[in-house]
Amino acid sequence: MDLIQLQRQLVDYRTSLYHEGFLDEQFTQLQSLQDENNPDFVVEVVSLFFEDSERLLNELSKALEQQIIDFKRMDAQVHQLKGSSSSIGAHRVQKLCIVFRNYCEAHNVEGCLKCLQQVKHEYGIIKTKLESMFQLEQQILNAGGSIPV
């Protein structure tokens, strides 16, 4: 594909992510931190986010399967997830985490289960989208162009 076209596609894709509420301006901040000293900053952070989130989601699932549910620990974990997602600007995930925390405080198992499913779902989406975006970027770089801001 043409370089210009690729770049345009990337910009459109990114814009759509913002419009649909998957990302917020925090992600823009992250991108502004990337410079020649730190060329892969965004990718590193996002990868770390993926690792963290997957670990946390697994632990949350396990916790909800227990007989006696440790809400406090769950709350702490959801808090972590919320922090991570807000740091990279994963807007929808962050919002779901807030709801999840409320359910945890209310000790509402049903709610928590439901919420966990939603979070997993959203996380899946955002992960796919971000990976596609990175692939696009990589293509542009391979084609010799620069990533538009």
């Binding site: 590193e44 702490a76 922090g83 740091s87």
Partner: protein, 740 residues
């Protein structure tokens, strides 16, 4: 002779009687005709006559009568029947009219009579009114005289003039022969003739005061007629004349007036002077009631005027006295100032002179300590050092105190961190306290402002002194320091009636209570505590050292800060509480930026604003830690990352300028870390600035951060620009609290 219808009179006409009848009838007719004419004439002249129709009637009656008599003249001779019939008609008419008139008069005559009585009544009334008019006029005259007299009397404040004028005017108004004023003497037992009208310089007659007549006059406030033979009335040489009536009236002397200068014995009863008035002899004049009233009124006025004059004299005297005193005081003040200046000069010189050798001793002793010494020598040197330190402190204290006493010490006011003061005190006292195994706790009230305006150094000195005393005099137990903002009711019940706090908008009263569980103080000794050099001589305290000046100096400082300090203790062995209230100004929140994004430096994307600034980031969340690190790296900082509080404490060093801590993670005791970092770095300039990062916060959390000792607080998410401006602000002011 033809027979005619004539009627012959009964009597011959030549009869004498007939002749006389004829003449009488003629005159009657004449009179009867002239009467109505007269009546008409006079009534026409008079303006008022209510009975005109009566007049007409009367006139008719008279005229007819006259006509009858006139016609009767013809009947004396032979007359015809016509004449007779005319006569008869006239008579009949006359009869009718006269009967009517007679009937009419029955009505009219009583009316006329009553008019007469009314006239008489009115005449009497007029006479009476005339009399009363005369009386009123006389009274008015009298009133005018009184007013004029009063005016004359009150127009001057000189008592001689007042009295003289009174007598003259009274004499003139009432046309008196003699008028005199008798004043009570110094002893109060006699009346002395002070002023008279006619005699220029009255010789000092005196009359004993307890004369029955005089008593009678003094006992009533009316003017009393007295006998001319009374001793007070015998003013004129006895002549051959019949002396006129004499009246005496009392003049109350209001007790401020003292005519015969100062030492006047206090009499329990009211004192009076006596005014005697004599009518001219041989004039048969009597004292009228209105004249007596005039005299009474004048007497009262005179009393008032005299007291006014006396008050004026008093006040002039008092003013003169005050002026003298002022002059004396001024002199004394100037002498005192000279003395103080001399003392200050002396102290300044002595201070310098004393300090120089002291420094030499201390310096050389310290140096000696560093060298090789035998144990006894070391002990000796240590004692020398300790003593000289004590002496140096004493010299300083004395100088401070003397400067405090004459008010030449002034507070260095400035904005300072109140929480920091308490923390410093705590830090300074902790080592000693822990050696003595005393537990020290500090409680700062939530509403205590962090910044205040006042003299930081002296406040710290005072608090340190009190806390130090608490530690010094406690062998075991605990010491608790509480600080809060004093409310008005707590201010008022402080043990000082003369402490009058004034609340206003920019100031607040800080109340610090230091409670210890030490040896306590005998309540009787408490007042002496704040006096200079007074040491508590009870056992156990004699070894504590100290010069006894500390509390005195504290008290002076506290007074300068318009506050109050006192100590409460329940007794020996029961510990004691020192309470201190000082006035501090409210400081604006320092360095709080209203907008989170306010870059002080022009935004240069990509240009590093803080090259090589060493920072430490503590965040348990890996992702956000990485993001923060990225931010700071982008700004050129040298970032160290830690994931736990222990790691943080281990790695933090004085090279780190800022420590960013994420405090929104539950389970991290960020306040604990703050305190421990504070403990690790005692010197303020070595300690890194502690900034809290948090995703959500409220005022309480923010204040907790402030109180724990953090230097800043930022809300996440932090953008690049925000971080840049935050760091700039932080490094410039060493504080940055984002506005919530």
């Amino acid at each position: 002779m033809e027979s005619c219808n004539c009627i012959e009179p009964q009597w011959p006409p030549d009869d004498l009687l007939m002749k006389y009848q004829y003449i009488s009838d003629f005159f009657i007719a004449l009179a009867y005709f002239s009467i109505p004419l007269e009546l008409i004439y006079f009534v026409k002249k008079s303006a008022v006559f209510p009975y005109r129709w009566v007049l007409v009637q009367f006139g008719a009656f008279i005229v007819l009568c006259g006509a009858t008599h006139l016609i009767n003249l013809w009947t004396f001779t032979v007359h015809s029947r016509t004449v007779a019939s005319v006569m008869t008609t006239a008579k009949v008419l006359t009869a009718a009219v006269s009967c009517i008139t007679a009937l009419m008069l029955v009505h009219i005559i009583p009316d006329l009579l009553s008019v007469k009585t009314r006239e008489l009544f009115l005449k009497n009334k007029a006479a009476e009114l005339d009399r009363e008019m005369g009386l009123i006029r006389t009274q008015e005259e009298t009133g005018r005289h009184v007013r004029m007299l009063t005016h004359e009397i009150r127009s001057t404040l000189d008592r001689h003039t007042i009295l003289k004028t009174t007598l003259v005017e009274l004499g003139r108004t009432l046309a008196l022969e003699e008028c005199a004023l008798w004043m009570p003497t110094r002893t109060g037992l006699e009346l002395q003739l002070s002023y008279t009208l006619r005699q220029q310089n009255p010789v000092g007659y005196t009359v004993p005061i307890h004369h029955p007549v005089i008593n009678q006059v003094f006992s009533s406030n009316r003017a009393v007629k007295i006998s001319p033979n009374c001793p007070v009335a015998r003013l004129r040489p006895a002549g051959k004349y019949m002396p006129g009536e004499v009246v005496a009236v009392r003049v109350p002397l209001l007790h401020l007036s003292n005519f015969h200068i100062n030492d006047w014995p206090e009499l329990s009863t009211k004192r009076y002077a006596l005014m005697v008035l004599m009518l001219p002899s041989d004039s048969a004049r009597q004292w009228h009631v209105h004249e007596l009233e005039l005299v009474e009124v004048v007497a009262d006025q005179v009393a008032v005027a005299l007291s006014h004059a006396a008050i004026l004299e008093e006040s002039m005297r008092a003013r003169d006295l005050l002026m003298e005193q002022n002059v004396a005081l001024d002199l004394a003040r100037r002498e005192a100032e000279t003395a103080i200046r001399a003392r200050n000069d002396f102290l300044a010189v002595m201070n310098h002179e004393m300090r120089t050798p002291m420094h030499a001793i201390i310096a050389l002793s310290s140096l000696l300590q560093e060298t090789e010494l035998t144990p006894e020598q070391r002990l000796m040197v240590e004692t020398i050092l300790k003593s000289s330190n004590l002496l140096a402190t004493l010299i300083n204290d004395v100088l401070d105190l003397s400067r405090l006493e004459d008010g030449s010490l002034q507070l260095d006011l400035g904005t300072f961190n109140l929480y920091a003061v308490f923390r410093e005190v705590l830090n300074l006292i902790k080592p000693i306290a822990s050696v003595k195994k005393l537990h020290v706790s500090l409680t700062l009230a939530p509403d205590l402002p962090e910044y205040a305006i006042g003299d930081e150094k002296r406040l710290m000195q005072t608090i340190l002194n009190i806390v130090g005393n608490a530690v010094k005099f406690s062998k075991e137990g605990s010491i608790s320091i509480t600080a809060f903002v004093a409310k008005l009711d707590t201010l008022r019940d402080s043990k000082a009636p003369e402490f009058l706090p004034v609340l206003s908008d920019n100031i607040f009263y800080l109340r610090v209570q230091v409670k210890d569980s030490g040896s306590g103080i005998n309540p009787l000794d408490i007042p002496k505590l704040f006096t200079k050099f007074a040491q508590n001589q009870s056992t156990g305290t004699r070894n504590s050292g100290g010069s006894g000046l500390g509390l005195a100096i504290c008290k002076r400082f506290v007074n300068l800060m318009e506050g109050h300090i006192w100590i409460e203790s329940e007794g020996l062995g029961k510990g004691c509480t020192a309470i201190l209230i000082v006035k501090l100004g409210m400081a604006e929140r320092v360095n709080e930026s209203k907008l989170p994004y306010m870059p002080k430096m022009p935004t240069n994307h990509g240009q590093t604003a803080f090259p090589g600034l060493k920072v430490l980031v503590m965040d348990e969340n890996g992702v956000s830690r990485m993001v923060t690190k990225g931010l700071l790296l982008h700004l050129g900082c040298d970032v160290t990352m830690v994931g736990s509080s222990d790691e943080c404490l281990r790695l933090v060093s004085h090279e780190h300028k800022v420590v960013f801590m994420d405090i929104c993670v539950p389970g991290i005791d960020s306040y604990g870390i703050t305190i421990r970092i504070h403990e690790k770095f005692t010197k303020r300039h070595e300690r890194p600035l502690l900034v809290a990062l948090t995703g959500n916060t409220d005022k309480v959390k923010k204040e907790n951060c402030m109180r724990a000792g953090m230097d800043g607080l930022i809300l996440k998410p932090v953008s690049l620009d925000k971080m840049r401006s935050v760091l700039t602000d932080l490094l410039e002011h060493r504080v940055f609290f984002e506005a919530i």
